[in-house]
């Protein structure tokens, strides 16, 4: 009686050992990616909502401001006193600039307010409320205090809201950010518009090529395939450099058009949107052609023949019979192209003008140039969310593992 049970148990154990062994082979890579990739990105996203900067240099006022509940009026004397103590302390410790910079993200002019106050602040006062307001009357403005409260941490929605051009009003509601700070919806729109135009152009240019390659006999299709694969394998920088040369005022494209007599003066093709879209279309076109080609290659010709033999004219047969069968390929190719285009940085940076820079540019800019890491993290989170949502649609369509980003 016990024999089959033991066998079952032994099989079970062997199976479990096999699974464990398989997992052990994957574990080193998982651990590696956890440390170099997953944790750093999670930590970046934390920075989008975690805001300890001000509370580190101004601990007193960041603690005391919690007592300020009536946001329509000024906070009490204890909050003013805490601020005065913090300013004195951080002025001595030379950390005032950190506080001033952080407040300046939210309230324009806060930098001069903080430094001016620090210079004029007496060491003793009977009423800190009156003293501070006498130094700078902006301290009588509840909006300034609301900015302090918003920055008091440890959690903030400030950066994420700013990434979509919103801000908190002093009473805690949401409102549109002032026009001179509202640039991010424009950047987001631009990123999506460029990605969308590039994807559309890629589909327009890629469809006939994919169709031709899929329907030619192999001995003709393979040599032509090289014309798609060679650009695909060529360095992104080489291709971008080529477009910089071709599109300049005296470049090949303008010379050619002028020789043909189509234009008299060179067109402005570079450092603007036209250049960005042309160069990105060139770089991303193979990413649309290849998945579309592989789907078209699998479409059996019998359906078209059937439609034709039943009397459908070629155009009708193509639109009604062939085209619907290419939809998975069109979906996969356009989504892949769109996802890759969303994250583009190098090509717009080299071929575009100041108003053509996409989301990635600003993420890198805030990371290395202005050291506003909260903002970099918030914009990064927005880009990551957009990418992952689109990718989940893509992987439903084709399954994992059919991508190569540039």
């Amino acid at each position: 009686m016990s024999q089959p049970l033991t066998l079952k148990a032994r099989l079970h154990r062997a199976e479990r050992r096999r699974k464990l062994g398989a997992f052990a082979l994957v574990a080193p890579l998982l651990l590696f990616l956890l440390v170099t990739f997953l944790v750093p990105i999670a930590d970046m996203m934390r920075r989008a909502v975690h805001d300890p900067e001000l509370s580190q240099v101004w601990p007193r006022v960041c603690g005391a401001i919690d007592t300020w509940t009536d946001r329509a009026h000024l906070p009490g004397e204890s909050v003013f006193a805490a601020l005065a103590a913090d300013i004195q302390e951080s002025h001595k410790a030379r950390t005032l600039a950190t506080a001033a910079r952080r407040l300046n993200y939210d309230a324009a002019g806060a930098r001069s307010l903080v430094f001016g106050t620090a210079r004029a602040l007496p060491s003793r006062a009977s009423s800190w409320t009156e003293t501070l307001i006498a130094i700078d009357e902006r301290w009588a403005n509840p909006e300034v205090w609301a900015a302090v409260a918003r920055a008091s941490g440890p959690l903030t929605s400030f950066f994420l809201l700013q990434a979509v051009d919103l801000e908190r009003s002093p009473t805690g509601g949401l409102r549109a950010a002032p026009p001179d700070e509202s640039i991010y919806v424009d950047v987001l729109t631009r990123t999506f518009v460029v990605a969308f135009s590039v994807t559309g152009l890629c589909l327009l240019l890629g469809f006939p090529v994919a169709y031709l390659l899929a329907n030619l006999p192999d001995r003709l299709a393979y040599p032509l395939m090289i014309l798609v694969l060679l650009p695909f394998w060529t360095s992104l920088l080489v291709r971008t450099a080529a477009w910089v040369v071709l599109l300049q005022d005296k470049g090949l494209v303008n010379e050619f058009l002028m020789t043909l007599g189509l234009i008299d003066d060179p067109l402005r093709l570079i450092f603007n949107r036209v250049g960005v879209v042309i160069a990105m279309t060139h770089v991303l076109l193979p990413f649309l052609i290849l998945p579309l080609y592989s789907v078209m290659k699998g479409i059996k010709p019998v359906y078209m023949r059937a439609a034709r033999s039943l009397g459908a004219p070629p155009t009708v047969a193509f639109v009604r019979i062939y085209l619907p069968q290419t939809l998975p390929g069109i979906g996969a190719g356009t989504l892949l192209t769109f996802i890759l285009a969303l994250g583009y940085y190098i090509t717009p940076a080299l071929v575009g003008g100041a108003s053509d820079q996409m989301l990635s540019y600003f993420i890198a800019f805030y990371t290395s140039d202005t050291v506003n890491w909260g903002m970099a993290a918030a914009l990064g989170t927005v880009l990551l969310a957009a990418t992952l949502i689109l990718y989940s649609v893509y992987s439903r369509l084709v399954g994992h593992g059919q991508v190569k980003p540039a």
Partner: protein, 275 residues
């Protein structure tokens, strides 16, 4: 699509449109690459046609410039070390993923492939913010780690695809003849999947060799790679020496393409034997 005499006018028209538009697109894909090659042999300092004589002066400039030499060296160091790590980790993982469906298999696959999906700038910024306090930015180690993470999905995908055509009975045969798992892998599995591993490695190398966003953020002045040097060259003063480097890189990618094709054919031959 062979020519048949019974084509209607409508079909002839569509065929002409198809070929016409395809030829234009092929030209759009290839002309930019072909157009810059002659410019690298220009005798004068301009990037315009007609050429002012033919010379190799820009190649001499590039080959004798210590900046380009150190950029090439950095690219080769970072590329080969990250390829090595990515190939080992990726091949092990692919073998593990093919061996059994353990709990969380799908999630693991998603994690392993995710560096390919996430925009590079996010990988770079995440890496920079997290590792700058640890002193890993501005070092070879940091750059190599980040490039390994970006390259590893290509190894996993390529080796996994090869393993799909691998006949498991060969491993069982080895095991039944007394070979341990390690010996079986080394003497039976690895030789058979070697072309796949090699193409995975080439994919990984190409990824690192062409990567510039991570380099811009994570590398210090001592680790400027070839693409990084080209990036500042294009941005600051684009001249025929950039075209000379570009031409050399086009030659390189042509060789890469040929090697991959050879490996692919070899791989198919091996699969044919295994079945």
């Amino acid at each position: 699509m062979s020519a048949s005499p019974s084509l209607t006018v409508e079909e002839r028209l569509w065929r002409a449109v198809l070929w016409g538009s395809s030829i234009l697109v092929f030209a759009f894909l290839m002309v930019p690459l072909l157009a810059i090659i002659p410019l690298s042999f220009n005798g004068g300092p301009f990037l315009t046609y007609p050429l002012q004589g033919v010379s190799l002066r820009w190649y001499e400039t590039v080959l004798s410039d210590p900046d380009w030499a150190s950029a090439l060296r950095n690219s080769l160091i970072v590329g080969s070390v990250s390829t090595g790590i990515a190939t080992v980790l990726g091949t092990l993982a692919a073998v593990g993923l093919a061996r059994a469906r353990f709990p969380g298999h799908g999630l693991v696959m998603a994690v392993v492939l995710s560096p390919m999906i996430v925009p590079v700038v996010i990988v770079a910024v995440g890496f920079y913010l997290f590792f700058a306090p640890l002193g890993l930015t501005g070092s070879y180690a940091g750059l190599i780690l980040a490039h390994t993470a970006l390259a590893v999905p290509f190894v996993v995908i390529t080796v996994s695809a090869t393993l799909q055509g691998y006949d498991v009975t060969l491993s069982r045969a080895a095991a039944s003849l007394g070979a341990g798992p390690l010996l079986t892998f080394r003497r039976v599995t690895l030789p058979l999947i070697a072309p796949g591993v090699a193409s995975g490695g080439l994919f990984a190398f190409a990824t690192s060799f062409d990567e510039v966003v991570v380099v811009l953020l994570v590398a210090g002045p001592g680790q400027r790679t070839l693409p990084r040097e080209m990036f500042s060259g294009i941005r600051e003063s684009i001249n025929p020496s950039i075209m000379a480097v570009a031409t050399l890189l086009i030659v390189f990618s042509t060789l890469l393409l040929i090697t991959l094709e050879v490996l692919r054919r070899h791989n198919e031959k091996v699969r044919g034997i295994a079945r």
